[in-house]
């Protein structure tokens, strides 16, 4: 199978991230002929190739999420250095995505074989049942067309496909339930020493909102990272070197790259595809879906470029029975807008949501053993749900293991500051050894509600070297979420104080030049500064619903407008909850894939 223009496929899948790869595997395992088109390069399919990215990361001056992956002008991705404060220059044009504001969209993604799963952290909690019913329960947002119960069996499949490590007894928050005979494929990643210090320090702590006290607990975080297997599950190691990476070794560089591939990336799923039924073509940017008069998709047009350094390409068409757009929330919306497809609801590209990531940081009295192990091993789940959601956003609390990481970029910043104060040699080493192990950063993954004005659009003024659209992003954060950040700060102070950290050792501050800086007027009329980062979660741009009037796809992520088109991924999520969305997206993808198999019978 060569991808020649005259071949017809059962399914063409656009995008090779965890969603596209798992749909491809589900279909091809059942004998369907599948073509995967990936815009980016053929990254990391050999062990040596993958190690070259580790080398690039180690040499990079700025260790941001896309730093192992050199820029590809023909399938550009945004890098963190390109994200600026929109108030200071509008629009922000420096990177691939065009920011129109009023706030910058702080998250990046990666267009490459494996997609953003190459640089993700791997955090894989399920959503809580009430996340699916915000409108009914709390009068905000919208309800999903499906419930937790509907998605539950697909969560089990997704956890096996991604290789998630957790103990189910730790995960039953706010009504999350599991089948009696089920447990995760691998045992939980052991809590870090830091987690244990925090758990000890917050024993008996609760925080009050309204007239309700919320007890604070520290529990293990489910994550797609290899650990001790259960039952018949065999951990998948590195692609091309299966004996490497069968357990997390604590390299502490999960974002942006796991040197041993103990962390899941969709490269592992792609490597397992039955090549008699699945073909992958990289360096193939799909520019348009071709729609016939009856409204069915009858082809894709893609630009195949031979070299990243040249914008020469050939235009190729391919046809299939069904089409699966799984190119990531922003890219999928962009492609469909460019094709004039799937948008009778006028919701395509709208309702763009992230989990604004609010951070606080402090110095603990004693060493926490920082920089060992994954970025997070435990969370405080206590605020994932509750009556307060009538008034402000829910949030999930991530306990960081990497010192002050994105707040100040230790230890480099510490070294710089000490050098500026003329402190060198043994004194420098001693001070670093005193300070860096005591750094604690807590992150709050905050829910954001869908808003039509938060959207991805296209504009012929902003094109890339191949003549494809760059995404134009309009983004803001509502008071509901800002109030959630204020609440998160209250929790943060309570946690720090409970651990014996005085205000003098709390270093949280907000820099007015940072992209996520904003002001908020509280209920009492006080103006408070806030700041947030992107979590790397892009959701909502092709949301599912019960009606074609206000949603882009149905519960199977099938387009209302085109029977043979599925738009699959985090973009289908109508609301965000506070759970990192990849696990949910893959669960939804399995549900969609089962529906696709019915169509292909």
């Amino acid at each position: 199978m060569s991808g020649a223009p005259n071949e017809t496929w059962d399914a063409i899948i656009i995008g090779s991230g965890p969603v596209g790869a798992n749909v491809a595997k589900t279909l091809s395992d059942r004998g369907k002929r599948v073509l995967i088109l990936e815009a980016g390069r053929n990254s990391g399919t050999t062990y040596e190739g993958y190690l070259s990215y580790v080398d690039t990361y180690r040499a990079a001056l700025v260790k941001e999420p896309n730093s192992p992956y050199p820029p590809n002008p023909n399938a550009p991705s945004t890098y963190s250095q390109d994200i600026h404060n929109v108030q200071q220059r509008v629009p922000v044009l420096s990177g691939y995505q065009v920011e129109k504001g009023p706030l910058s969209f702080g998250s990046t993604y990666l267009r490459s074989l494996g997609g953003t799963s190459l640089h993700w952290l791997g955090t894989s909690p399920r959503m809580v049942p009430n996340d699916f019913r915000l409108k009914t329960l709390y009068g905000v947002g919208v309800d999903w067309p499906i419930s937790y119960d509907t998605l539950q069996p697909y969560y089990c499949r997704a956890e096996r496909a991604l290789g998630v490590s957790a103990n189910k007894a730790d995960q039953t928050h706010f009504g999350i339930w599991f089948p009696e005979d089920y447990d995760y494929p691998m045992e939980r990643i052991p809590p870090s020493y830091s987690d244990q210090v925090i758990a000890e320090g917050t024993k008996g702590l609760s925080v009050t909102f309204g007239d309700q006290a919320y007890p604070v607990s520290v529990t293990s975080l489910a994550q797609a990272r290899n650990s001790i297997p259960r039952g018949d599950y065999t951990p998948l190691g590195a692609v091309g070197a299966p004996h490497i990476g069968q357990r997390c070794e604590g390299n502490a560089s999960c974002i942006p790259i796991c040197p041993v591939q103990a962390k899941y990336s969709s490269l592992k799923t792609l490597a397992q595809l039955d090549r008699d039924h699945a073909t992958i073509i990289t360096q193939a940017v799909v520019s348009r879906l071709l729609i016939n008069e009856s409204g069915r998709i009858d082809g894709v047009e893609y630009k195949r470029y031979a070299a990243e350094g040249s914008n020469q390409y050939t235009t190729v068409t391919a046809a299939a029975t069904i089409y699966v757009v799984a190119a990531h929330a922003v890219e999928s919306a962009k492609l469909l807008l460019a094709s004039g497809a799937a948008n009778s609801s006028d919701q395509l590209g709208r309702n763009l949501m992230d989990h604004p990531f609010f951070i606080t940081w402090a110095l603990a009295p004693k060493s926490l053993g920082t920089f060992r192990g994954p970025g997070q091993t435990s969370e405080i789940p206590s605020f994932r749900d509750g009556p307060f959601r009538n008034d402000f956003a829910a949030f999930r609390v991530d306990l960081g293991n990497w010192g002050w990481d994105i707040a100040t970029f230790p230890p480099n910043s510490n070294v710089q500051n000490l050098l500026n104060a003329n402190i060198v040699g043994r004194k420098l080493r001693n001070q670093l050894g005193d300070v860096v192990p005591r750094q604690l950063r807590i992150g709050y993954v905050i829910e954001q509600l869908p808003e039509p004005g938060n959207r991805v659009t296209i504009d012929p003024e902003f094109m890339d070297p191949l003549g494809c659209y760059r995404p134009v992003i309009h983004y803001n954060v509502s008071d509901y979420t800002r109030a959630g950040m204020v609440a998160a700060n209250k929790v943060s102070n309570a946690v720090f104080h409970s651990m014996g950290i005085t205000d003098a050792n709390i270093f949280t501050h907000f820099d007015s030049s940072s992209p996520g800086y904003m002001m908020y007027r509280t209920e009492s009329g006080q103006e408070v500064p806030l700041s947030f980062y992107g979590s790397g979660h892009h959701m909502g741009t092709h949301r599912m619903g019960v009606s074609r009037t206000d949603s882009v796809v149905n519960q199977y992520q099938q387009s209302w407008d085109h029977d043979n088109l599925y738009v699959v991924g985090c973009g289908s999520m109508p609301t965000t909850g506070s759970s990192n969305p990849t696990l949910t997206a893959v669960a939804m993808a399995f549900m969609a894939a089962d529906h696709m198999l019915q169509q292909l019978r």
């Binding site: 040596e48 297997p229 951990p235 190691g237 070197a241 004996h243 069968q246 357990r247």
Partner: protein, 337 residues
């Protein structure tokens, strides 16, 4: 001395444990002498052999426990003082702690050399490790099928190291041993991974589902020839496949067989050598616990393996007291601290 009763079977299995372990420090020195980022393929090959030797130790411990024995690992007498022949080797060729190079490879090939077709089992001093295991198999089978043989495998099942939980990252699986059939499979697995089955270069994959690998002898031959075997190659043809890129000049130039006592005049170096030896001894103690009723102690062994590597490579960067550009290295001596 042939295997005549349970006690002599125990002694032979304990010797097998000692033999398997005795190959590990030399292989580790070769592995550690490869600086990070160089000689990736050779590093992966030697690592794979080390992983399998550790598997062999575990399999032998399981067999010994299954027949009512008690493996001894954490004792000075368990170790070999390099340079030394392997325990009970009739050949007398000496094994040394060396960096990866021609001399080290020659030794490794000698250690893993397959038995000649039809060579007899040797329960006393053996020519090849394979012949020693043949004798163990033969004796164990004879005892199991003889009078009182039904009681031979009377070991406590809770002493067995289980499959999959603790051993990972190597070709092969731990097999709990409960009877003659499983004991035979375990011993065959050791022999096939070491020397190859029926003189092809692949080890037998009938018993364990795993990626096809070639036997240790032939893996070392690939490094020596800087060339890979193809599926159609035989022991006689040698490796005729793709080139295996080697940078022979990259290895840390460790002086052979470092000893702590040589550095009495350099207390800082001696301290670092002692720290390595203490980590190594702690690892042996965790293995002793693991092989004697608490297999979960293997959980503690894993971080110690990482620690050994860091400590060894630090030593290999320090100039040795012997000059000629050589460096210090790990001495693998017993040190209770």
């Amino acid at each position: 001395m042939p295997i005549t009763d349970r006690e002599s079977l125990h002694q032979h299995l304990q010797t097998a444990l000692r033999i398997e372990h005795a190959t590990i420090p030399p292989y580790l020195c070769a592995l550690y002498s490869i600086p990070d980022g160089t000689n990736l393929e050779a590093s992966a090959i030697i690592r794979s052999v080390v992983m399998e030797e550790m598997l062999h130790m575990t399999l032998v411990a399981n067999v010994l426990n299954a027949v009512g024995g008690a493996p001894v690992v954490a004792d000075p007498s368990f170790l070999v003082a390099y340079p030394s022949p392997l325990p009970h080797s009739a050949k007398g060729f000496e094994v040394s702690l060396l960096p990866l190079g021609e001399q080290a490879l020659q030794t490794f090939l000698e250690i893993e050399r397959p038995e000649k077709w039809g060579a007899p089992p040797e329960s006393g001093d053996y020519d090849t490790i394979g012949q020693f295991y043949e004798a163990v198999l033969e004796g164990m089978t004879r005892l199991a099928e003889g009078p009182g043989g039904e009681d031979l495998f009377n070991g406590d099942a809770s002493r067995q190291v289980p499959t999959a939980r603790w051993y990972y990252g190597g070709g092969g699986e731990v097999l709990p041993v409960t009877d003659l059939a499983s004991a035979t499979r375990a011993i065959h697995e050791i022999m096939e991974q070491g020397e190859g089955l029926d003189h092809t270069i692949f080890d037998g994959d009938d018993h364990f589902a795993q990626v096809d690998d070639i036997a240790h002898y032939f893996r070392f031959n690939e490094i020596k020839a800087a060339r890979r075997y193809r599926a159609s190659d035989t022991p006689k043809s040698g490796p005729q496949g793709v080139e295996l890129p080697m940078d022979w000049s990259a290895m840390y130039p460790m002086h052979p067989n470092p000893k702590v006592h040589e550095y009495a005049h350099q207390p800082d170096v001696q301290r670092l050598m002692a720290e390595f030896n203490r980590s190594y001894t702690t690892l042996l103690r965790e293995l002793q616990w693991a092989f004697n009723g608490t297999p979960d102690r293997l959980f503690n062994a894993v971080p110690l393996m990482y620690q050994l590597r860091h400590q060894a490579q630090s030593l290999m960067k320090i100039p040795s007291c012997h000059g000629h550009g050589t460096t210090v290295g790990p001495s693998f001596e017993y040190d209770e601290g």
